[in-house]
Amino acid sequence: MRSNRWLPLFVSLAALATGAPRPADAQATRPPLRPDSTLAPGPTGAGFAAWRTMIAERGRTGASFLIDADRYQVLVMTPMAIDALAADSLIAKATKGCQRALSLSDAQVEYTRAIDPWAAFDSAAFARPLIAIAVFPKEQRRFDCHAGDLARFAAMSRGALYGRFDAPVPKDQVAMVEFRRDGLLEFAPLQGRAKVTKVSQTELLDDGTEHVRVWVDPEAFAPDVEGAVPRLELHVYNPVDPEPDILPLPERLIRAVWQQMLPWQARRLDVADDAHTVPALHFPAPRDSVLRVAYAAYERGALGTAASEAMTRLMFRPRPPQADIRHAMLQAATAFSMRDRHAEARSLMTDIMEVYPCLTLAPEAPQELRDMAEDARRPARCSSIPLPVVALRSLVPGLGQATGPVRRKLALGVFAGTAASYGLASVFESRSRRFYRDYRAYQGGDSEGSDAPSLYQQAQSAREIGNAFMIAAATVWIAGGVEAVWNEYQHKRRLAEVRAVGNTPPRAAGVSFAPMVRLDRVGVTLQLP
């Protein structure tokens, strides 16, 4: 929980009491170039270093996010994203991608490999779960010549920008950054500044331009118990203006960042309470081998391990089967809910209900979880129509699709497509008949251009076009019917899958073999009774 909530409140009140910082203040409070000390894991970070190391060894995961503002750009990175962007080869790849566009030499490309102004800071923050937010001045004109977004973000994470730059102007520089949640200043355990390497035409510029990073607790991104996303803002001060530029973080970004940290949050559930609690909800055993391990932990009541294993697995490809994903997320939501972490549980339930709006939980489910599901439920058709009826309805183009608001556009599309094609077919057929009538009536001697061959050609062409539209109409009509039946069949199947979820009895004990792929090993699991 947010044990240090009082501190940002105090800092914020102090700031209000003394007024907004002046440019001189901003200069005076500029972040350091080197970290003063190494951050301890803290009460919420025990074991985090080992966990993130294990994640990084498993593969690249964790998305970083870029926000473009008027004068600044902001890169938001989770610890997993920082690890994913850490390889020297990525910045070299980005520079190599821009080598031709910016006329760079091989030596310059190779030089960028060594650019890493944040190495000391990243090392200092390694053991603590923190979100890094970097604020850069914008390029005058950005060159999107990098070899992909990953390389571009990796280069940005090291302060390298590619493009054309004007001479630096003080008001466009970043002197200081504040991170505020719902208007209140959040404590940043670590902040620093580093030079910006401007990769421009034929040269790597170091004109004194700097960018700033602040590291903030992921809890700042947590929704409240009602599931509402907090309002997060960056207040960016330049060296001359007293007022900051206020950059709000998009809601989707806030949710995504917080959700990336959920596997780690889940890991802490068992630390908080070591006593195993066998949940009331039971799901089918997954097919995915890693999720089977999480499933086993869940069934024996190790809720934190179960949720963490499951959510960590979902961070990596290949994606497990859809049913496995659904049950893994429900297990995690159940785990969070049973440990009174309702914000996390609600977030997961919201995600689940977004995909499965007709999902209903078994009567054994905790009331809180059921309430969360109901709160997150969006309007959807949660009943099915008999397939013969759908087939019969589909005789009217589009009526088979008109089963709910979600498919209204498709229904209209099928109807309009069929009607338009049929209408065009009729128009062309009518046109062709007119030409043919003229053809039959032609008796020679007319002016040039209206002779019999051209009249016949026009009639036949119009008829062929009409036939093509008729085929199109029939195709849309028939395809619409087939789609409607197939969709209803799938809908019915999906409904059955998500009805009274959680009442699958635990699997009877017995000997079983299953292939196993874990984060750190591969093999065969033998389960004995």
């Binding site: 019969l392 053809y439 032609y442 008796q443 020679g444 019999a452 016949y456 036949q460």
Partner: protein, 226 residues
């Protein structure tokens, strides 16, 4: 659904399905269309042998031509350069007139034109000798033949319309001549010539007939050698 609604739906579907039928290619049977499957032909005489003659050809069409259909008749009146020796002009409504011809039988195409589509018939046109007379400078009967002497006799031929045969040498190539008694008079080997002359030689005393056949005309010249 009620029975009525079902019946309405079925009828609607049947109507739609009926309307959905693909249309076959149109029949191409316009007589003025060069790629039409319609048939046309001309019937009439296959030869005309006198200058000034007229002949009529008749057009047959399947499907029948509509009333007032527009088409034109054509002989060989359209030419470039000097006029050809044989000319056939259309006189309207399938009637043609031989305006000019010679003893040469030429094949002339007469046509009915439907814009760019022509239906034609080939007609052999020329002058066939219908009658002729011998020309001996004086009355042929009054000629005196001396044994061992030769004389040239001309043939004056005309076609059925009494129009003098043009290019008589062509008719001579088709013709023949002989002496009934070569011991009295003989016909010299004669090449066809534009003047239409043959050379007769008196051999010995006696009387004989020189028979000349040109196309369908046959006549004889009496030769008396004292």
């Amino acid at each position: 659904m009620t029975h009525h609604a079902r019946a309405a739906a079925v009828l609607g579907v049947l109507a739609l399905a009926g309307g959905c039928a693909l249309q076959e290619p149109y029949v191409r049977d316009n007589h003025w269309d060069p790629r039409s499957s319609a048939t046309k032909s001309l019937s009439g005489p296959d030869s005309v042998f006198a200058m000034g003659d007229t002949f009529r050809v008749t057009l047959q069409a399947d499907p029948p031509l509509p009333p007032g259909a527009f088409y034109t008749w054509r002989g060989n009146e359209m030419y470039e350069g000097p006029p050809p020796p044989t000319l056939v002009y259309p006189a309207g409504d399938g009637l043609f007139r031989v305006v000019s011809s010679t003893a040469t039988f030429e094949v002339i195409a007469v046509s009915a034109l439907f814009d760019g589509v022509a239906v034609s018939r080939q007609v052999r046109v020329g002058q066939r000798v219908q009658s002729y007379t011998f020309s001996c400078g004086v009355a042929c009967d009054a000629l005196t033949w001396q044994a061992g002497t030769s004389r040239s006799v001309s043939v004056l031929a005309a076609d059925a319309n009494q129009v003098p045969i043009r290019r008589i040498e062509v008719a001579m190539q088709r013709g023949s001549w002989l002496s009934r008694d070569p011991a009295v008079a003989s016909v010299a080997a004669t090449t066809a010539n534009p003047a239409g002359t043959i050379t007769i030689s008196a051999v010995a005393a006696g009387t004989t007939w020189i028979v000349v056949r040109l196309d369908r005309a046959v006549d004889s010249l009496r030769v008396v050698v004292p």
